[in-house]
Symmetry: C2
C-alpha cells in the first residue's frame, strides 16, 4: 500500500507487468523522477492545481498549426536534449539542433542561385556552402532544404495571405563538388509564439521569448546520415539566451558585407551585399557516432 | 550554451531571474528532474513525439465534467503523494486520502439516520461512527459530508437523469457526543473513466482501472483541521491494487452482517442488514502535525 516514503517504489511496482520492456523502463523511470520532484519541492495542493490547469490549457491551445506542448518542451530544454542525445556527433560532423514547428510544408524545388526572398524585403544575402562526407569528400547531389523567417520575424505558414506561399523556403541540389548557393535575406531574431500558457510561464519567470537569427537546414545525401540543423548569425541578439536553447557554438557563422560590383552582378544582387557561408559534413549511414556519453554518466 | 552534459544546469540558469523565489525553486527542481529522466532512459525522438501527442490529447479531453490530467496525476500516484505530503498526521489522527473528481456538487443536508440510497438498489448498510479531537474528546456538531457510488459503480453526477440528484450523498451534523449514523448501501468497487488517454496508458501497461469499494468523507469541526478521506471496505477486490493508490491500512474497516430484527426495525432497515463503523479523529487547528518527513530525507 501507499506511504510517503515508499511512494515511487509502490507506483513503479504497478507498472511491473507492462508487456513491452521499453515502456516498462520508461514508466518506471518517469515515476521515480516525478515523485522525487514532488518530494524535493514539497508541492502544495494549490501548486498542484495550478500545474493541472496549466497542462490542461497547454493541451487545449494545440491544433494543426499551433503545438503548445512542443513549445513547452522547447522552453524547458527537453526538445534540445532529446535532439542532442539522438544525434551525437562527437565533433566529427555538423551538429544538429531542433527542427522547430515550422517545417510543416514541403520546400519548393529551386535551382542553385535562385532567390528565395519572394517578398523582396530585408537585406540581400548570398548563402553558400559545401556538403562533404566524414573525410572531407564532396557529396555531389546532396539535398539541401532551407527555411527561415522574413524580415518581420514570421515564417510563411504563420502569415498566409500576407507572405507568398514558399517565401524563404527552398529545396536545392548540390552540384558535382557538393556546393550549394542561393539568394536570400539576412535572417533576423524573432519571438516564439508567447500568447499562450508557455508565454505566461516565460513572463512569470522573467524570461524573454526570443530566438537569435538563424536559417534552418535539413541536408541529406545517399549513403549518409541526414542532419537537421541551423546556421546562427554571429553577433545576433539573444545568441546567448535562445528561448529554446538551440544554439551550439559550432553552428555560429559571421555575415560579411561585400562591396564588389562585378561579383554582385554575377550573383544577381545589388551592390553591396552580404554573404553567409555554412559548410556541412555528414556521417556515413551505419557509421557509429561516438558511443560515449559526453557527461560520463555511468550506464 | 547548451550541451548534453550541462543541459539541466543551462536550462535551470534561464530561470535564475524568476522574481518569485518559490516559483524559481519549483522550476529549477522540475528542470533537474525532467532532464535526469530524459537522460536516464535516453528518450528517442519517436517516444518524445508519442509523449507530446499523449499530453495534448489528455488536455483536449478535459472539460467541466471530465479532468483527464487529474486522472493522469492519480494513476501516477502524484495526487496521493501531494495529498500525503500536505496532510501528515504522524498517526495521531485520521489519515487523509485523495478527494477524487466527484465532489463537484454540495451534498444535501440530511438528518442523522436518513437513508442516502435514493435509488433503492444495493445491500442495505448502517454507516456510523464518532468524531473526536486528538485526545479522544467528542466533537459535538461536527460536519460529516459523505458520498459514494451506487450499486452500478457510478456517482450521481455521472448519470444525470438515471440516478436521482443527491443520490448517495449527505451532509450530516454529529450529535452532542460526536456521533453520526445514516442508512446507505454497501459500497462497491468501480473503474475510473478509462476511455481516454489515461485508459490507454493503463491498458498498455497491463494495469486495471479499478478502485476498491469505499465511501468518501470530509469531516470538519470548529477549531480543528478538517480531514478529506475514505473508509475502505475490508476484503474488497482491488484493495491491494487501487488504480489511484488511495488505500491506507488505517482506513480499512470490515462490513458486518447483523441478524437482529429489533435493531433492524429500530434503524429502519430490513433484517438482516450490514454495518460499517468508522470513527474519525481530528487534529486541533494550529496543532502542528509531525514535522519529520517519514522518509528521513535531508531537507
Amino acid at each position: 500500500m501507499f506511504d510517503e516514503e515508499r511512494s515511487a517504489e509502490v507506483v513503479a511496482a504497478s507498472f511491473a507487468g507492462t508487456p513491452d520492456p521499453r515502456l516498462r523502463q520508461v514508466m518506471t523511470s518517469l515515476v521515480q523522477h516525478l515523485h522525487a520532484f514532488v518530494k524535493d519541492v514539497e508541492l502544495t495542493e494549490e501548486e498542484w492545481g495550478v500545474a493541472i490547469d496549466f497542462l490542461t490549457r497547454t493541451g487545449q491551445l494545440s491544433d494543426e498549426v499551433r503545438q503548445e506542448f512542443i513549445l513547452l518542451s522547447d522552453v524547458l530544454g527537453v526538445s534540445m536534449l532529446v535532439e542532442t542525445i539522438n544525434h551525437r556527433t562527437g565533433g566529427t560532423s555538423t551538429e544538429s539542433t531542433v527542427l522547430g514547428p515550422f517545417h510543416m510544408v514541403e520546400s519548393p524545388v529551386r535551382d542553385l542561385g535562385a532567390d528565395i526572398a519572394l517578398d523582396g524585403k530585408g537585406t540581400p544575402c548570398l548563402v553558400s556552402g559545401r556538403v562533404t562526407g566524414p573525410d572531407g569528400e564532396p557529396l555531389p547531389g546532396a539535398a539541401v532544404d532551407v527555411w527561415q523567417t522574413n524580415e518581420d520575424g514570421f515564417y510563411d505558414v504563420q502569415q498566409p495571405g500576407v507572405q507568398p506561399a514558399g517565401n524563404l523556403r527552398g529545396m536545392f541540389t548540390a552540384d558535382e563538388q557538393g556546393r550549394f548557393w542561393f539568394r536570400s535575406v539576412v535572417p533576423r531574431w524573432y519571438p516564439i509564439p508567447d500568447d499562450g500558457p508557455v508565454g505566461q510561464l516565460l513572463a512569470a519567470t522573467g524570461r524573454h521569448p526570443n530566438r537569435p537569427a538563424h536559417l534552418h537546414f535539413i541536408v541529406a545525401a545517399p549513403g549518409h546520415r541526414p542532419v537537421t540543423t541551423h546556421v546562427f548569425v554571429a553577433d545576433s541578439p539573444y545568441l546567448d539566451s535562445d528561448a529554446v536553447f538551440g544554439v551550439k557554438e559550432s553552428l555560429v557563422r559571421p555575415v560579411h558585407e561585400v562591396d564588389d560590383p562585378a561579383r554582385a552582378a554575377e550573383v544577381g544582387l545589388p551592390n553591396p551585399f552580404c554573404t553567409l557561408t555554412f559548410d556541412l559534413s555528414l556521417l556515413r549511414a551505419g557509421q557509429e557516432p561516438p558511443a560515449t556519453n559526453p557527461g560520463g554518466r555511468s550506464r
